[in-house]
């Protein structure tokens, strides 16, 4: 699957055409590792130097390349967002597995699409770009990835139900921007916050119609 979508160029504030695709290969992980990681590290060092510890990203320990050869083994689905051939965001979702069940009482036990991993390129993150004296390059890459997860859920006939464990710094994005429900902290998963979409919330996200 390869679909054209628009994202927004930060400097011009104009929409530009990007691609969402699911043919993610080891090369994309190598690209993320080689191009993203040094930027994240430089920005983190700069933020630490300024004492802005609350802005230091919490995913510095992620190391994709050593694990990449095994990524095709099971039922994992990957999505990437690219602009002009350059990777802008990466997501891994699962449609079967122990996390693919709803926990919200009103939809308890129903199947959902589990977002296991989602990240955008560091040059699209304001705290990191600004730490290095830059402005971000593109807006709405994260929203496009969440949209892909919801659309996958609809495609699987899960009616838009999506679940994920958010890292602490990203919780506001999923609560405020995406409109998901915080179900609670998961002690079995580093006490991360578990969030879920109901079909109604997912529908509101897709259509942009906010709750009255």
């Amino acid at each position: 699957m390869r679909t054209h979508v628009t994202i927004i160029d930060f400097k011009t504030a104009k929409p530009v055409e990007a691609e969402v695709f699911d043919e993610v290969t080891v090369d994309h992980f190598l690209e993320a590792q080689q191009e993203w990681r040094p930027i994240v590290l430089r920005a983190a060092r700069e933020l630490a130097r300024r004492g802005a510890r609350e802005l230091i990203p919490q995913h510095l320990h992620w190391d994709w390349t050593s694990k990449a050869p095994q990524l095709n083994v099971l039922a994992n689905i990957f999505y990437g967002v690219s602009y002009d051939g350059k990777l802008q965001g990466l997501m891994k979702v699962e449609t079967v597995g122990e996390y693919c069940r709803c926990r919200l009482p009103e939809q308890d036990g129903k199947p959902l699409v589990y977002v296991d991993y989602l990240e955008v390129a560091p040059w699209n993150l304001k705290p990191l770009a600004e730490a290095l004296g830059n402005t971000p390059r593109f807006k709405a890459v994260g929203s496009r990835l969440v949209e892909a997860a919801v659309l996958k859920s609809v495609e699987e006939e899960f009616k838009g139900r999506v679940g994920l464990h958010s890292l602490p710094m990203s919780e506001q994005f999923y609560l405020r921007v995406c409109g998901m429900t915080a179900v609670g902290r998961d002690v079995a998963k580093q006490n991360l916050l578990w969030l879920e979409y109901t079909p109604e919330q997912a529908g509101r996200f897709l259509s942009g119609v906010r709750k009255p």
Partner: protein
Amino acid sequence: MKFNTDPEWLERQAALEDNSYVSVGGFVWAVEELERRRPAAELTRAAFIRLLQLARRDRRLTLEQLSDKLDVELGELVGLETDEHYSPQPRTVKKIAEFLNVPAEKLFVLSGLTRAKDAHFEEAALRFAARSQPTEELSDEEHQALQDYVKFLCER
């Protein structure tokens, strides 16, 4: 997949997102889990292949007929029955579960798509794979092994 093409939606989302952190983690943890369960998955998959072969032969269906019956591509079924490293699509496993009338969750584990929660499940799968040897005709023993194992999957 039909993405939203409304420019106003995009602008609103972009403004709300405000280039903030969106990270969802657990990635390394998940892949490490995969590494740990891989040997077990390969073993249970042998049982999955045998289960499918015996059930198909028990119903006297060719792979082609089964493909039509399940509405699953023939190549997917051939891959499943002939390549123990073949990773089936979740939809295919669901269809096979319906065909065998066993819980889909059990077949997800057996096919290696998800992990067994207890060692007994894997042990039973191994016993089944070892008990059921291929022959041209389904023997009474194979038939019994198949019936016993289907019963086991339904009961637990």
